[in-house]
Symmetry: D2
Subunit: 146 residues, 4 copies
């Protein structure tokens, strides 16, 4: 479909997302800022699946420090869409989520976004080593070493 | 569930709606302005069902002139929600849509909104008599005289 | 200007509001749901002025139970806009705010919104009599008995 | 201030931006997706200044193909904010805008965003060489060769 797409590993998490009428801007397509709302929603779903429980965002010990998003093609109101999410890699104090917004019918990848997330100590709000139970949960979910 | 609810007729149109993480405001519940985004989305779905085809909003000859919304109870992020929509009455140049936001599991009506919509001549953008084919379609969909 | 406008008393509070590119929908005008975001912002400004201090919303003991909004005319991206806010009346356990969205240059009232707000006991989250210091502050700000 | 900030050239364009109550999410700070709404607004302002006229977005022959944003610190509701925008570099068929969201009082840079924008032929919607009058306007505005 789209040869520029850069995901190397399979996605084990996908979430159907619903557009709203007001997501469309005067150019007639989905406004870029909406993509980030959809990716945000899918992140919260991803963490709940990885941890096998519904999580309150306020209890998720992470902070986004970088977002890098490639926009491949426009999205229109009536397209059926899903967001795919994976942990791409885990570092010492941070990890990277890779997400794609995809037209479910055609498989076309609309945009692809990497979010670098720092693991933080929720009491002091400072970066700290990614806790072992979070590493294990992500490795287990993604079915590969990281 | 909620004795203040004022709908007199059954709803033949309901649409599941998806919340986003950023719909929740700092008070911890769904921000009021989000309700109107959801009602807007459901209106577009309603018109498509009534007319038996996907409609472009720009080709729907209506304009909202009044919104009257009762907020009964707060809504939280993980609630399964649907919007129910009906045409409540049809006048000469306008009609009224009644909508409810409902928790699917409990049946609780979160809020109830009436939108008065003026039928317009799309070329002159002025109010005009509701066209007969629109009247017929709404009456037919709602299964009662109006 | 607009003979349908219904405000009977002067406005002592007005706030310039800034539109965003994505407030405009595919029809080319400001989406209705945006009006409520602007009215919300102006409400928080109004309460801060009435109380002579910056207020956290979470510490404002009110809850919106009804919104009734008349839309008079469309709004476009480059219009200079302000929201005017007043307390229209105070009841036993509730009060009504009246707000207008106005084009600053032309004085045209785009829409006019009444919000019925219930005063609540923040500990039990139930309606209670509007506290005397809030009554006094609103009466004082509006310069008339209510 | 913030030693991680990477701008090398001065900013000749800054725009005050207004937050809304509903921009704040349940974590209590400005939701990330809001930053992109503010950057979008400032982009449209930047192009109008560079071209010395109010521009309709639909007539601006550009398309965003990549956004890369560093989030340095949280933003709260009552902070006075501006967005600074510059053209950082101009390539053959694309150019890069650099934007910062800044607390006006403290000078703190909240986040810094690079947008790669492809210049397009509006009739065929395909990438094309950045037109000379756009190059000249950007070089002139930024007061340096690119």
């Amino acid at each position: 479909m789209n040869e520029r797409v850069t995901a190397q590993y399979p996605f084990y998490c996908s979430m159907k997302v619903q557009l709203r009428f007001n997501d469309i801007d005067m150019v007639g397509h989905i406004n870029n800022s909406v993509y980030f709302e959809l990716f945000d929603l899918a992140k919260s779903d991803y963490f709940s699946r990885v941890r096998h429980k519904e999580l309150e965002w306020t209890s998720i010990p992470v902070m986004v420090v970088n977002i890098n998003c490639n926009f491949y093609t426009q999205t229109f109101f009536n397209e059926p869409l899903e967001v795919r999410t994976q942990t791409e890699k885990i570092g010492n104090k941070s990890f990277t989520l890779l997400q794609q917004l995809v037209n479910i019918d055609t498989g076309e990848v609309k945009c692809e976004c990497r979010s670098t997330m720092v693991y933080i100590d929720l009491s002091s709000f400072t970066p700290t080593r990614v806790a072992q139970d979070w590493r294990d949960a992500m490795v287990n979910f993604e079915q590969r070493e990281m």
